[in-house]
């Protein structure tokens, strides 16, 4: 079939808006899903007192972290295909932060798999460090990156980033980084409350209740600053500021929910908070995708950074067919691994473990169902 292109690109086509929304959703999904992976990694040493505790914590995300990280890869790929100039300017501009994020994700990813391969304490400790830093650095830098996208960075007429690494480390962006770092840590602590048992769960609950007020303060500060910036320059999506207020409210309520032992609802609240944070950023950004601090005329927008309409059409068809399928099987995998993870019972009769905790070590020696071997704790 002959598919021809419109010779002139209209100011905003529907498909450009659609792909802007898709990319926002991909980032929101990434923040919610890998957010708790990062949180678990950041809190690994605090919630895990010994090697076995840390193994338990890693196993709460073991089967799913890799699938969660794919949200980032798809967000990157979708940006490349739908908005090539956004992809090119962002990735070449934020060069060193991205390098740090990639290096962190490399060590963190292999750590999950390699950690269990040797029993040497030094080996275990080294990979625990890799998981901690590998989670902390991206958790901080994603916030720095998004705050800079919104705040504006020196972008030239040719969409080239003219700043240096240090331009990216301004107070607003650093506040953004602290905000995502705390949000992910809180999200991970609440996730640990839901997925672990006994002492680890108690410690996770305590950590979440300590983190909650600090996180609330950070998100209030960051979104207020964002609001003040936006009020001068650009008003989209922030008037009335329903979404940012919802973001703040859902984080503010976490501590109360935890005190009432509503862990599930607390997790919903941190997830909603993260989604609303990403939504605030993208609403405020629209229709821009990157802000030039040199001149508004050099902003990258969904119109001037977009790919050809034909490409967007093809991608839309593929996305509409396959996204529901992906959501179904990824959701199903969470259902399969819905049980809590706990330490094995002490030698002797397996008791004291909640009904949700499946077969303890005693039966693991028979080829009974369920037990996850320690060596396979790290996944791919």
């Amino acid at each position: 079939m002959a598919l021809t292109l419109a010779s002139a690109t209209p100011a905003h086509s529907g498909l450009e808006v659609f792909w802007f929304i898709i990319i926002a959703i991909l980032w929101a999904g990434y923040f919610v899903l890998e957010g708790f992976d990062f949180g678990i990694g950041i809190l690994l040493g605090i919630l895990g007192r010994d090697d076995l505790d840390r193994r338990v914590l890693i196993n709460t995300i073991g089967p799913v972290w890799d699938g969660n990280e794919v949200w980032l890869l798809v967000a990157g790929g979708a940006t490349f295909a739908a908005f090539p100039d956004w992809y090119a300017t962002l990735f070449s501009g934020f060069y060193l932060p991205l390098f740090l994020i990639l290096a962190a994700l490399i060590f963190r990813g292999v750590a999950f798999e390699f950690r269990a391969k040797r029993t040497l304490p030094a080996w275990r400790l080294a990979w625990d460090h890799a998981i901690f830093w590998g989670s902390l650095i991206p958790a901080l830098l994603w916030g720095v990156a998004f705050a800079n996208i919104l705040r504006g960075v020196p972008i030239s007429r040719h969409f080239t980033y003219l700043g240096s690494f240090f331009n990216l480390l301004n107070p607003y962006a650093l506040l953004g980084g602290v905000t995502t770092l705390l949000l992910f840590a809180l999200h991970g602590a609440v996730f640990a409350c839901l997925k672990t048992t006994d002492d680890i769960r108690t410690r996770a609950s305590r950590a979440a209740r300590v983190l909650a007020p600090a996180t609330t303060a950070a998100i209030v500060a960051f979104l207020s600053w964002t609001y003040l910036n936006a009020h001068n320059a650009h008003d989209t999506g922030l008037v009335p500021p329903l979404v940012p207020i919802l973001a703040i409210a859902s984080i503010a309520v976490v501590e109360w929910l935890l005190r009432e032992r509503l862990d599930g609802w607390a997790f919903v609240a941190t997830a909603v908070g993260l989604i609303c944070l990403v939504a605030t950023i993208f609403l405020n950004l629209y229709p821009r995708v990157m802000v030039s601090s040199i001149s508004p005329a050099y902003n990258l927008t969904i119109a001037n950074a977009a790919s050809a309409p034909y490409t967007l059409k093809v991608m839309t068809v593929v996305a509409l067919i396959f996204t529901p399928l992906v959501l179904v099987y990824q959701g199903w995998s969470y259902w399969v691994f819905r049980a809590r993870v706990g330490r094995p019972a002490q030698p002797g009769p397996a008791s004291g473990l909640g009904p949700e905790t499946p077969t303890p070590a005693a039966s693991a020696a028979t080829s009974g169902p369920a037990p996850t071997p320690p060596g396979q704790g790290g996944t791919s």
């Binding site: 490349f80 295909a81 100039d85 040797r118 320690p374 396979q376």
Partner: protein, 472 residues
């Protein structure tokens, strides 16, 4: 400076990534076959146990590799934007689409079902557990298909038009049915099977040799693994060569310079000979050559006296078409990488043939020389994979998208200092990972089957008796 550094970075990242990718693709399929055999023999205790042991043993090596393949894949996807942002702007509309679709169709499938496969035993039915490794295999193949569709478009752009300073996709179907893609996808797919088959053969051979030295009966797991690897490897090496040959013909039509450079054919000739060895001076003039008459014409044109274009004539044509400049790749690189790749292939073919013959004569487990060679041969597919990619990518130079965009026009405008930082950083990280991976692979490959207790699914570090500690 930025250009050269960026090229080194791309080369190092891609080669390192591709050390692990073929093993992931091939082992996923072979593990799926093993687990299927275990599933189908579940009424026959001995056979079931043997296949189960095989699945457990090779899965450990598979998982060690999978991890590095995944994390280096992220760098692979992001470096286009980081180091090659002008390329990304130019090609995003065409090249970005298969990349995005790869993520949606392949990466989600692989990662989700790998999680189910590793952690899900006992939580899902054996049938779904088996289906999940097949889905991992399908995911890895889909991933190869889409990334090779993107690469084939760089080799032979189709389904696009140039509007202003952008290449814009006009026909997605054409991109996915690119004549270059068919050959390269099957070539890569089968070479991945060869790679994993040779790893399995080599590691099994090492164990069989050890058993022989210890005067023990060969372990059935490794005898069976070696046989499976031989059968799969034989079919795969023949298929790899067949589709490689098919690619050569396509290449002669689409990128005549690469073919001429591969063969050091300086001037167009009919009934061209195949060069076995060329020593030339630095300006590219041959000093001494050994050639097999007519073979190149047969390979490239399927005829005894078919014409093969020469470097000098193609250079003149390219200048007329695309303006002044050199359109020659670095000749010694293309010439030697091509030869090393083909040479490794021929040696592997010979090894497989010898192995099949020994297997038929039932002497496989006792043939010390063959087993020793098989251990050494583990390196061959890796050398062939690497030289193959260096050949096909460097042979396309100076183009990044053949005939459309030169590599020098594709690189990001970033300071060389930044690129040096990341080049050193990534290289250091890859080197460290390579050492760790090699250490773990040899450690787990050597530990044999005793690390598993029959009937359980526990992994243990070789040489320790640490009990399984964790419950899901």
């Amino acid at each position: 400076m930025t250009l050269d550094l960026s090229r080194w970075q791309f080369g190092i990242t891609t080669i390192f990534h591709f050390m692990f990718v073929p093993l992931t693709i091939g082992l996923a399929l072979l593990l799926a076959i093993m687990q299927t055999a275990a599933y189908r023999t579940r009424d026959d205790v001995a056979a079931h146990e043997k296949w189960n042991h095989m699945t457990r043993f090779w899965r450990r090596l598979f998982l060690i590799n999978f991890a590095i393949g995944v994390v280096t894949g992220i760098v692979q996807e992001f470096q286009f934007g980081m180091n090659w942002s002008l390329y990304s702007r130019y090609v995003g509309s065409v090249f970005g689409a298969p990349l995005a679709i790869e993520g949606l169709l392949a990466f989600f499938l692989e990662s989700t079902f790998l999680g189910i496969w590793i952690f899900g035993k006992g939580r899902v039915s054996p049938r779904i557990h088996l289906a999940s490794i097949w889905l991992v295999g399908v995911g890895t193949m889909l991933s190869a298909l889409f990334i090779l569709a993107a690469n084939s478009w760089m080799q032979h752009p189709v389904g696009y038009k140039v509007v202003g300073n952008r290449a814009i996709m006009t026909n997605f179907w054409a991109v996915m049915t690119n004549s270059t893609l068919v050959g390269s996808f099957l070539h890569v797919l089968f070479s991945a099977l060869v790679t994993s088959a040779l790893l399995i053969l080599g590691v099994s051979a090492w164990h069989l040799l050890k058993d022989r030295r210890a005067m023990e009966a060969p372990q059935p797991v490794f005898a069976a693994s070696a046989k499976l690897a031989l059968v799969v490897g034989s079919v795969a090496i023949v298929a790899t060569m067949f589709f490689g040959d098919n690619q050569a013909r396509v290449m002669e039509r689409q990128q005549p310079m690469k073919m001429a450079a591969a063969e050091a054919i300086y001037n167009t000739q009919d009934g061209a000979s195949f060069s076995l060895l060329t020593i030339g001076d630095l300006s590219g003039n041959p000093i001494f050559q050994i050639r097999l008459p007519h073979l190149l014409s047969v390979l490239a044109d399927n005829s005894w006296n078919g014409p093969v274009q020469g470097i000098n004539q193609i250079q003149a044509k390219d200048v007329a078409k695309s303006g002044p400049g050199s359109y020659k790749p670095i000749l010694w690189v293309t010439y030697w990488t091509f030869r090393i790749m083909v040479g490794c292939g021929i040696v592997m073919l010979g090894l497989m043939a010898a192995g099949l013959w020994l297997m038929r004569r039932r002497r496989l487990e006792r043939s010390t020389w063959f087993l020793r060679l098989s251990v050494l041969a583990i390196a061959l597919p890796f050398v062939a994979n690497t030289t193959g990619w260096i050949f096909t990518e460097m042979g396309r130079q100076p183009w990044v998208v053949y005939g459309l965009l030169k590599t020098s026009q594709a690189v990001s405008h970033i300071g060389a200092g930044y690129v040096v930082t990341t080049l050193v950083g990534f290289t250091a990280i890859y080197s460290l990972l390579a050492v760790i991976d090699f250490g773990l692979m040899t450690r787990y490959a050597r530990c044999g089957d005793q690390a598993d207790e029959p009937g359980t699914d526990h992994e243990r570090e070789p040489g320790t008796d640490q009990a399984p500690a964790l419950i899901y």
